[in-house]
């Protein structure tokens, strides 16, 4: 009992520090199939309970159970196999890019190990013309959209394959035709922009959906508030995704006000929100299908809290063992997204260990082939080969006189 009557500053601490054993009991969980599936035009106030539960379909045996499974319906096995392959490709791409960083071939990268189901599952539910507003950790959306990865690596290696000609920090690529908005390193700015984009869709009489993406850390930014405010006031077709992977570099979610489930934040704005197991591929597809349909049919915006765990380091210049237990990732109660989907596919007789090993080999061969091609155009070890004149081009639509003079003096 603290001394009554004396205010003390409360500084939240994570459940476990290095050397302690991992604990996750502070995270509200639900058994698979336990959470109901409301109609897509449900009144936002009625979605309040979902913020304290967790939508899950795959049970511990890998079987699909519960009302959300029924809502999803049976999914063609090829779609699931495609999802599994996309997740494996994303994970191996991350591994290769981290290795390339250690070799000096690239200078910056952020892996999304453990979170692949959210992006690879969500992308399956989007339609052509929809637009993702990603952060630097949603490369799974790009892999799942079929984007030519040698161009992605071109930006990493700073060579002439790079579609943005060396102008942005890797991995912040831009791919409008693949529904992948140009990434900004300034946190949360894209979140309110996604709502504006959705408003434009509504104003133009289209039914295109905007999918905003943000991490639990950046959800503390002012732009997060602006996004939810505009989403609730103007009810545009926007799905606001909040990936709660427990860590923002070295700050656990409690520092961002995560002692209350993040999905609750929608309640203050009268926005609908649901909370979903991010490592359950089927739950991801179901929740995405539900939210995108709600938005596309004009029932207003939705906030989805995807609960998962950042298994990798924040980026190439971070070592998590300094601030959290080494084995915390392995102890994550909701398991690994690839393993759980593999287990489910095997359970329904659509997959096997041999086919999995075969697929892993094919994925690695494909990524290594693309990396060799990309590296043949040069890497950052030589200082990169992006054209120097790109510095002066596309600052404005037409190059003004003062920039032309600066270029003449530079001689490039």
């Amino acid at each position: 009992m603290t001394q009554p009557g004396r205010p003390r500053l409360r500084v939240p601490e994570p459940p476990a520090r290095p050397g302690q054993s991992p604990r996750f009991d502070h995270i509200p969980m639900s058994p698979a199939g336990a959470v109901g599936c409301p109609p897509i035009d449900v009144d936002p106030a009625d979605t309040k309970p979902f913020a304290y539960q967790l939508i899950r379909i795959l049970d511990d045996a890998g079987k699909a159970v519960g009302p959300w499974a029924d809502y999803l319906g049976n999914v063609d096995a090829d779609v699931l196999r495609r999802g599994l392959r996309d997740m494996m490709k994303t994970r191996f791409l991350d591994k290769r890019m981290l290795l390339a960083h250690r070799q000096g071939k690239t200078t910056n990268y952020a892996a999304s190990t453990g979170e692949e189901a959210i992006t690879c599952g969500f992308q399956r539910m989007l339609s052509p013309g929809d637009m993702n507003f990603p952060t630097y950790r949603q490369q799974g959306l790009l892999v799942a959209s079929g984007y030519p990865l040698e161009k992605f690596m071109g930006l990493q290696f700073g060579n002439d394959l790079d579609p943005v000609e060396g102008k942005n920090l890797p991995p912040m690529i831009s791919a409008r035709d693949y529904g992948y908005f140009t990434i900004s390193g300034n946190l949360a700015t894209q979140y309110v922009q996604s709502v504006g984009w959705a408003m434009a869709s509504a104003i133009s009489g289209d039914d295109k959906v905007a999918a905003g993406w943000i991490g639990d850390g950046a959800a503390a930014e002012g732009d997060f508030h602006s996004a939810l405010l505009y989403a609730s006031v103007y009810r545009p077709p926007a799905v606001l995704n909040l990936i709660n992977n427990q860590w923002a570099i070295s700050s656990f979610v409690g520092i961002a006000g995560g002692h209350v489930p993040l999905a609750c934040r929608a309640h203050g704005y009268g926005l609908a929100s649901i909370r979903v197991d991010g490592n359950d591929f089927l739950a991801v597809m179901a929740a995405a299908k539900w939210a995108i349909a709600r938005a596309r049919q004009g029932h207003g915006a939705i906030l989805i809290e995807w609960v998962t765990y950042r298994a990798a380091a924040h980026s190439t210049s971070d070592d998590p063992t300094v601030y959290r237990p080494k084995e915390e990732a392995a102890a994550w109660p909701l398991g690994d997204p690839i393993e759980r989907l593999k287990q489910h596919l095997v359970a329904i007789g659509e997959w096997s260990d041999e086919r999995h090993a075969q697929a892993q080999g094919e994925v690695e061969e494909e990524i290594l082939g693309l990396q060799k091609l990309a590296e043949s155009h040069g890497t950052m070890i030589g200082g990169g080969s992006a054209p120097l004149s790109a510095i002066f081009e596309k600052v404005y639509k037409d190059m003004p006189e003062h920039i032309r003079r600066q270029r003449q003096k530079a001689g490039i």
């Binding site: 908005f181 900004s184 922009q193 984009w197 408003m199």
Partner: protein, 337 residues
């Protein structure tokens, strides 16, 4: 030819573009039903519908952030920040996002956006309704910064800004909204209807961005000014009898280098006038540009007449506001050199 105040000219510009181009949308605080605290958007919602002219929550970061999303979608938003003094919560979105959208995506996404804001002093607005923040934007590559000094230019420049494919910061000197002002606050206000530049053609016309204009040709000294200071400079030239060539810069970024350099090369002397505070003001950039191009033509050191380096005061308005006497003294001083 119709006669308009600057407010009516600005409203007319938005009305013409909203009628011509369905992609043009207008939103901001109190701009919808009410028509704007300075009445700049009066009647637009009634004419063009709630989906293209609507009020926004008091959240400038959201106004500009949402507008950027719309611009990348393909619309051409023209949003209002109620006072230039309130633009800073949106400074992150303007400088880190709008200004860089085309460059960082290498042309994949562009941001054809206009952000209008009433600017400048002379109305006893104190420190929160009188600031001139142009230098905060002219330092950002990728933005265009425009400031009209009369209704004719206001309409032509705003139409060009809405049609421009790059983000444009459109500063409107609120002191000039209803009539020209040359700093003589003791005199009766002359409405735009009795001024040559109050004549504003109906319908669509452009005043090009990136072009300055010589308001008053002269041989002895070049005065670089913009916004309200153009009228103050004209008054100072007239009262001192000095044959000053007064240039209204209109577009601060990108700057019309040819017109400025040609004038100073001719006169050999230069006075720069702006309301904003002097240190690191846009006048410093103008001085650098003139020095680089016209050093061997200069007969005397250049002089800046600008706001004192202090937050904009309230009661001491007329001691602070750069008036014709201060500009006149500068003209005499530069002639002596």
């Amino acid at each position: 030819m119709a006669r308009m105040t600057m407010i009516e000219a600005i409203r007319d510009a938005m009305d013409v573009k909203m009628t011509q181009d369905k992609r043009v949308v207008v939103f901001g605080e109190d701009v919808g039903y009410f028509g704007g605290v300075f009445r700049c958007t009066q009647g637009l919602q009634a004419k063009h519908g709630k989906e293209r002219c609507f009020d926004a929550p008091i959240n400038e970061g959201g106004i500009v952030g949402a507008a950027i999303g719309m611009a990348t979608y393909g619309l051409r938003p023209c949003v209002e920040i109620q006072f230039a003094d309130y633009v800073f919560p949106a400074y992150d979105q303007i400088t880190q996002e709008a200004a860089r959208m085309r460059f960082r995506s290498n042309g994949d996404f562009t941001c054809p956006l206009v952000i209008r804001m009433p600017t400048g002093g002379g109305i006893f607005g104190g420190q929160c309704h009188s600031q001139s923040p142009e230098a905060c934007f002219t330092h950002v590559a990728g933005l265009k910064v425009v400031i009209p000094s009369n209704p004719y230019d206001a309409k032509g420049l705003l139409i060009s800004a809405i049609e421009d494919d790059d983000p444009v910061i459109f500063l409107e000197p609120k002191r000039l909204y209803n009539g020209p002002f040359d700093g003589h606050h003791e005199r009766k206000i002359v409405p735009w209807s009795q001024h040559e530049f109050g004549e504003v053609p109906e319908g669509h016309y452009n005043v090009p961005l990136g072009k300055a204009v010589v308001r008053r040709p002269g041989a002895d000294v070049t005065v670089l000014a913009y916004g309200t200071m153009v009228h103050v400079a004209l008054a100072a030239a007239q009262e001192t009898g000095i044959d000053a060539e007064v240039i209204d810069i209109r577009t601060l970024l990108p700057l019309d280098l040819e017109t400025i350099e040609a004038s100073v090369a001719k006169t050999g002397r230069c006075v720069i006038v702006h309301e904003a505070t002097q240190t690191s003001g846009f006048g410093a950039e103008l001085m650098a540009v003139v020095q680089e191009a016209c050093f061997y033509h200069l007969e005397a050191p250049m002089i800046r007449v600008a706001g004192y380096d202090a937050p904009y005061p309230y009661a001491q308005e007329w001691a602070y506001f750069p008036g014709p006497d201060r500009v006149g003294r500068a003209l005499r001083e530069v002639m002596e050199g």
